[in-house]
Symmetry: C2
Subunit: 125 residues, 2 copies
């Protein structure tokens, strides 16, 4: 498929393209160079507005040791049907400098954190 530059656009015939929240984990994330950056570990969803605000990418580590979690603002992601995963326009260097955390050290997803994450990716919070 052609990459959709507006991830909020949804064709009428794609509205059945749903994923259950308990099956989100493990979805692959690629960059535009075709490199697999890691996998989605969870979505962070607005309890009220029902919108995914971040996909949390995990990568690195061996048997879970050294693994890092990177919240990616939803608007940085495009779903690629052919690959069955998300694509993000992000090289590995930029990702490695991005806000991240270790397992068990989840941040408070408040405004200050949101501004830091969005800012890193050049987005307005």
């Amino acid at each position: 498929m052609a990459f959709d530059t507006d991830s909020n656009t949804i064709a009428r015939d794609e509205t059945h393209d749903l994923i259950s929240s308990d099956k989100v984990e493990g979805t692959a994330v690629y960059n535009r160079q075709g490199e697999k950056l890691g996998t989605v570990t969870s979505f962070m969803v607005g309890k009220r507005n029902g919108r995914v605000q971040y996909a949390v990418l995990s990568f690195g580590g061996l048997f879970g040791m050294g693994e890092k979690f990177y919240p990616l603002p939803w608007d940085t992601l495009t779903y690629d049907t052919d690959k069955g995963g998300y694509m993000v326009d992000l090289d590995k260097d930029r990702l490695e400098g991005a806000p991240s955390y270790d397992r068990g050290n989840e941040p408070t997803y408040d405004r200050a954190y949101g501004e830091r994450v969005y800012g890193h990716y050049g987005l307005a919070y």
Copy 2:
């Protein structure tokens, strides 16, 4: 809190009110009479648009036997901070007549199914 009649409205200071997709399960759902109808088992999320289309409510059954799953269109739900759960304007009789399925018999969430579910709740798909 006052019930918010527009579940898509989100106050600026509530934007940190996020839930991880792997912690959605178990959130209580109440009706306006204060009866607990069941709990959320999962959200069904648009892979592309990042919007929750349904919260799947489960109830009934003993040790998982006889348990039924009811997809509720997102717009029928309001998050109630005080209760820490969702509120839906739905009496038990209407819920019992709603489209539902058994464990292991998940429907295809296509347009036809969406129209049937939304129609039951008086919503346009």
